[in-house]
Every structure is written in C-alpha cells, then in structure tokens.
Symmetry: C3
Subunit: 346 residues, 3 copies
Amino acid sequence: MGMRIGELVERFGGQLQGDPDTEVRSIAPLERAGPADISFLGTGKLRAQAAHSRAGALILSPLDEPEVAGSHEGARILTGNPYAYFARTAQLLAPKEAPRAGIHPSAAVHESARVDPSAWVGPHVTLEAGAVIEAGAVVDAGCYIGREALVGEHTHFFANVSFLARCVIGARGVVHSGAVIGGDGFGFAVDEGVYIKIPQTGRVLIGDDVDIGASTTIDRGAMDDTVIEDGVKLDNQIQIGHNCHIGAHTAMAGCVGVAGSAVIGKYCTFGGAAMVNGHITIADHVHITAGTLVSNSIAEPGRYTGFYPIAPNAEWERNAALVRNLSSLRARIRALEKELKALEGR
Amino acid sequence: MGMRIGELVERFGGQLQGDPDTEVRSIAPLERAGPADISFLGTGKLRAQAAHSRAGALILSPLDEPEVAGSHEGARILTGNPYAYFARTAQLLAPKEAPRAGIHPSAAVHESARVDPSAWVGPHVTLEAGAVIEAGAVVDAGCYIGREALVGEHTHFFANVSFLARCVIGARGVVHSGAVIGGDGFGFAVDEGVYIKIPQTGRVLIGDDVDIGASTTIDRGAMDDTVIEDGVKLDNQIQIGHNCHIGAHTAMAGCVGVAGSAVIGKYCTFGGAAMVNGHITIADHVHITAGTLVSNSIAEPGRYTGFYPIAPNAEWERNAALVRNLSSLRARIRALEKELKALEGR
Amino acid sequence: MGMRIGELVERFGGQLQGDPDTEVRSIAPLERAGPADISFLGTGKLRAQAAHSRAGALILSPLDEPEVAGSHEGARILTGNPYAYFARTAQLLAPKEAPRAGIHPSAAVHESARVDPSAWVGPHVTLEAGAVIEAGAVVDAGCYIGREALVGEHTHFFANVSFLARCVIGARGVVHSGAVIGGDGFGFAVDEGVYIKIPQTGRVLIGDDVDIGASTTIDRGAMDDTVIEDGVKLDNQIQIGHNCHIGAHTAMAGCVGVAGSAVIGKYCTFGGAAMVNGHITIADHVHITAGTLVSNSIAEPGRYTGFYPIAPNAEWERNAALVRNLSSLRARIRALEKELKALEGR
C-alpha cells in the first residue's frame, strides 16, 4: 500500500523537490531508511545524516534544504514543521488492522446497552445497563464499561480498560490497557481518627481527541465532575484526583500525579513524575520540569523546576548535610557581617 | 427517596435549628445547592457563602451559626464536626445500585470455591479452587480471585481486580479497579551479578474497613505476611512492598511507594508520591508531606517534609548550581572566619 | 515433600556440618524456624539469633560458623553466599501448584493462534490471530495476548496481563498481574499547540529470565523496538518509555520511571521511584539511589544520589527558604570577602 510523494503534497501541502511519482511504502529513521521509505529531518543537528540517508523521500525544513540537497538522491518535501508533517504521513502509511465490527459472542452485554453496528466489542467485554458504544468505536477484549457510560465515535479502548458508571469520553480518543476511569475519589471525613467515606457521586467527563496511557487512573468527582478537555494527552501511570479540571491540549508525561480539585490550564506540559498539590490553580502555558512538585498555584506562564540535582553519592552526602544546616551557615555569615562592621567601626 | 431533617438528627445527633419536617433528597456544594439539597460548611472561610446558600438544609459548627443564621432560610444542624456529619448523611442519601446476588453465567467458578448466596460474582470473574466470597460481598466483572483467597462480608471489588492465592480481606472493604493484591514480592539473591528469585510464600492479610485505590499494588510477603490493619485507606497507584506492616487508620494519598519490610504506625498520613525506604519503622501519628522520601526510621510523631522547592526555571538553575557547591560556599565562610580572627588579633 | 540435607549439598555444593540425613520440609526465618525448617544467616549481625535458632538446618558463611557452632543443634551448610544458596533451596522446597495444561473452555482463542499442548491458557484469556504460547508457558485468567505476540517457554503470566500485538518475551519469564506490555509510546508532533500522534509501529522485545512486576508498563517503540535484555528484574508500577534499551541483569525497584529512548547499561540498580530522563545513556554498573532524578547521561560506574533530605517540617521550612535564596547568601559572602580585603589593605 504505497503512496506517491505527489499525493502527499496534495494532501498536506509543502514544497516538492524531485519526482512526484516517487513512491514510499513506510516510514523509517534516517539511518535505516531505504528507497521505499520516507524519513524526516527534525533538527538541524542531523543534517549530515539526512544528506547521506538512502531514504526515497525526506521531509525537512527549507532552512536545511541547501545542505541536504547536494547529496540526497531521493525526493524531498520542504515544510515549516517537518515533524508534524511526518506525523501525518506516518498515520497514512502505518499498517492498519482490518476494522472489526460487531459483538464477540463471549461479551456480556446488558439488554439495555446500545452498541452501534459499526463498533467492535471484543471477547470478555462487559457492558452494564445503559452503556453506549458509538459508531466506529473499538472496545477490545476484557474491557469493562459501567452503567450508563458512553464511549464516543471512533474512540479506541485497548484491552482491559475499566471505564466506570456514567463516565463519558468523546470522539477519536485512545485509552490504553489497564487504565481506570471513574474510580471513586479519595474523599473521607475524619472523626476521632477514623475515616468516613464521602460518596463520590460525580463523573469523569472527557472531551474529544484525548489519549490516556496504560494504567493511568482518573477518579470521578465527589459531587461535581472531573473534567478532561479536548486534545489532552496523558502518558502511562498518571493519577488524576477527583474534581480536577485539565485544560485543552495539555500534555503530561508518565508517572505524573495530580491531587484532587487542581485546576490546570490549557497548553501546559508536565515532565515525568511531576506532582501537583490539590486545590491549586495553574495558568495556561505553564511548563513543569520532570520530578518537580508543584506546591502552590502558578499564575504566570513559563517553565518551573524543583528537583534535587543528582551527584555522585559522596558529594551528595556532603552537600545534603549542608542543606540540612543552611540556617547555621547563614548564622555564621551574619556573625561575620557583625564582626566586620564592628572592626570597621574601630 | 428523600429524608426528613428530623430523622437525620435522630440518627446522628446534633442540634436542630428550624423545621424537622424539612425534606432533603440529595447532597450538593454550597454554591449549587437548592431547596431539596443538604450542604455543609466545613470551614469558617465559607461563612458568607453558606449564609446566602439556597440549600434546604445546612450542616455547620455552632461557632458559625451566628453569622449564618441571619440570612439562611432553610433548616440547620449544628455539630462539632460538620464534615463527618455530612459524610454520614451523604452515605444515606447517595443513590444506590440495586443490590445484585448470584453468579453470572459467564464466571469461571471452581467447584471447590464457596460463594455466599447473598454475594454477587459478575461476568468473566474467575474464582480458583477454595476461594471464598462471604455474605453480601460484590465481585464485579473481570476480577480474579486466586486459590484459597477470601473476600470478607460486604466487601466490594470493582471490575478487574486481581486478588491472588491465599490473600485475605476482611469486612466492608472497597477495592478499586486494576488493584493487584498478592503479587510476588521483589526478592532476589544475587550471585555473581545474576538474580536468583526467592519464592514469595507469605500472604497479604487485610483487615476490616480498608479501602484500596485503583491500580494500587500490594505484594505478598516473602516468608511472613504483608499486613494492612483495620481502617487503612490507600489511594490510587500506591505500591506496598512485601512484608510491610501498615497500622490501623493510616491513610496514603496517590502514588505513594513503600519499600519492603517497612513498619508504619497507626493514624499516620502520607501525602501524594511520598516514598518510604525499606526496613525502617515509622511511629504512630507521623505525617509525611507530599513528595518526601522517608530515608530513615522516625520515632517521634509530627510532620516531616523533604521536597525541593519549585521556582521559575532560571532561578532554580542558579540555586541548584549552588546546592551542588555548598561545600565550597562553606569553605569560603571558613576562610573569612579565619582571616577575620587574624585581623582582629592584630 | 521433605529433602535430605545431604541431597542439597550434592546439588548446590557447600560444606556440610552435621547429619546428612537431616530432613527439612520448608524454609523459615531464624526466629520462627523449627526442626523441620531450614533457615539462613545472611549477615553477621544475626549471629546470636542464628546460634539459638531451633532450625533443623542452617545455611551460613564459614566466617560465622565458629560463633554459631557451639549452640546450634541442627545441621549446617557452609557456603560463601548463604543468601543465594538459600534462594536455590527455597525454590526447591516451595510448595508448587500442580502444573496445568490445556485451554480453558471460556478462553477466546483465534484459530490461527498456536498453543503448545504443555502450556496453560486460563479462563477468559484472549489470544488474537497468530499469537504463540510456547511449551510449559502459563497464561492465567483474563490475560490478553495480542496479534502475533509470543510468550516463550515456561514463562508465567499471572492473571490480567495485557501483552499487545507483536511483542515477544523469552523463556522462564514472570509477568505479574496488571502489567501492560506494548502500549503505544507517548509520541506526538506539535502543530500550533495541537498534538498529532506518531504511530508507534515498533515492538517490545524481552529476553529470557525477565521478571516484570504488577502494573508495570512497557511501551512499544516508535519505529524501532523497545528492548529489555536477559535477566532484567522490574518491580511493580514501573514505567518504561518507548525505544528504551535496558541492559542485562539490571534491576529496578518499584515506581521507577524511565522516559523514552533512554539507554541503560547492564548490572545497574535503581532504587524506588528513581526517574530517568529521556534520550540519555547510563553506563554499566551504575547504582541510583531511591527518589533520584537522573537528568543527564552517566558515563562512570558508581552510586549516584539526588533527593532532598527529610526533616521535621519547621526545620525543612527554614532550610527550604534558604535554598530558594542561596544566591543572596553567596552575594553576602562575596560582599564580606571584598570588605575584608579592603580592610586588610588599609
């Protein structure tokens, strides 16, 4: 299932250098690409590698074209954002499974659940009363769809997802295996040291074009809903507490944790294992470095960081001991300042 | 399914202000509550909001009553712990699924497993030989209950829980989807760099009234058992290593990790992503802040903290470089002290 | 199913002190062991306890023998690595489930999947087209084995594992419940703030003798494969990003996260919740302390650390404020140095 380069340019734009009839069949990294592959040059650093790549076609920036044009023998597409162009091309060329539709005979489907005829419900799936699976959606083996939950059009649940009662996900989402959406929020009152559970009666509402990684968990709200807006991308093993609100097109890398009732803006990014305290607000366009604990609200866009720098263990031991005694270091500085003043006064 | 305020006070105590025949049907936050809702004032900060709430009934502290009484038009219940009172009320009013009993025909139940007639075993559940499901317990779709494992009375397993051989959980527990209880502990001997597995032959023993969050994992003991005492509350994505012992009524927020053989006291709390080293002991009533690594035993109750403070990235860069060089800062202070002494001596 | 001590020594070597006909039936820790148990002394610290243990047999170092020999009444095996010897003994003595073979009638097995007659495929398992389960492998209830995925000889998947299309695991592996292997890597291009998915077309290739913990997730590669070499041991809740390469006999404790394209050497160890940035390289024999973020490549073997030291909260507050102001402390030191110089110059 190859594709002519000329057809790519008709679809996605860009300026073509070379033969529009060049046909590519798959994507490959620069160093492995051959005449039937298309590859891309994302960063100027790899210019030399691109120039000598055997790729049948290259996607690159006009800025890199002069250096590459001399040596590269295939076709080239010039575009301002080669990586995005490559992503779209890769989606076209990626091998696709034949679409499946229907309900596997082993699935347990409540009589009041509705499954669009174009959707797929795999083996050992459970659909509780009132669950809805919309057109073109795929619910792979072993998934659990709770009472009155809704899976939107063309959304794909990989195997063994738990999507609990009354949760909603929009169109074109991807939810990976082991994800749990709609577990109870962690809400308890304390009475003389003993915890009393607050029933968690809200839902999880997820917009369109949202990706949710493997083993990621998103809790339902306590009284109101937990909300994940359109285009949010969550990697694996992320925890989102109850009543959080995550703005559109925000992305989080693996192992991030967000405590309950945090409100996060749009177009934010979170590095791996970043943590967000509960009941705080983070503005749009905030970028949090990996391993950073966000302890308070952030009102200004920008990059924020807070992790302890790594060092050889002995060096860390030495410096960590000083961190523990910074106030005594400061006291010594103060004493020096005083003495010096006294001395100067003499 | 409403309830008279008078009946609430008969059940839970408190002092009633207003009409005992006021009927409430559901719970709601202050700002959304209407005449059929009951809400609560947990902190004095929201007094003004409570005073103008349209809630049919309010639960609040006698301390807040004077300011609220003038404007709030519904009934009020005065109590020393409004949040706990609200939790009990919410449990009463929360919509409940009709209880199910029996064994779904798709479940794979070993002939030697025992299921109380009042318990529910959902679709695609597996019960291995000798598994026991006690009265009123609910085991939702896709759960796995291992050989000779026991699920206590009225305990609820949400869909897709793995509860492995010989593990035991007591009464009134809640285990959320994706939780894995009784996986092998991470125990290996090393012989010339190669790991040799130590068979993990202990169990996980869980008391009554324990909540376990989505995707939380609790490993079985190596030779002895891993023990979780009564009333412990574990949020999502928590990892408890083999042979840990967690005291009654201790609560842990999401993403906490506890390494093997740690012994944790009663009534402790752990903020999100706190980490506990193995083979250490933590006293009762210890509170660990989010993001803190507990590297050594803690003998005294109190709050402990250890996370790197977040800052704008440039500021962090500057300070982190100094953290890495604290010993040279100290050396400069020492030099100053010496010189000053010399100068004073002149 | 007991075993003579003499037979143990024939199998595993070591020097026998006492009656070779001493029979042991199970393993136990020193303080609990009785005449039918075998125990071990791993560290000199427990010598006194070993000396008074009632264990029928003890495994210990020749260095500890003199102090133990006087009081211990059972047999003893002397060996240079008592813990490894104990591990091998424990494997022999551990109670084993009767091996099962065949395919449970509730499993959904595609007609093109191949299952060795000596393998076990449990209830509610799904095997997609072309999946292969080799001799002696065990695939417990609720597992999902994707299209053309391969489970090697004598590898054991506990219940509810998701092993996605085209992934491969070698012989004698152990994969615990809730693990997800082969989810899509977190790869997106950004175009005007909106994420465009890069199809993840690589696989996860796992060697022989690899253990993977509960709820651990390993993503498939973007174009190339994610590779886990022989003998790697991963604890629970670990996240391995796409295109990572983890060298043989490296071990990671719970909650570790490794971002995409990290290359990690052989014989490394990672403490709990350590985090590794993407696109970096870590040499062989590197040891990372728990809670440490590895932000850059590490070329030299050794131990590396970087976590903020825990302290009583008030002390932490004081010192954290100073960490945030280290540059002003340095400025004060500089000022002092200057003034002092001026003073000395007078």
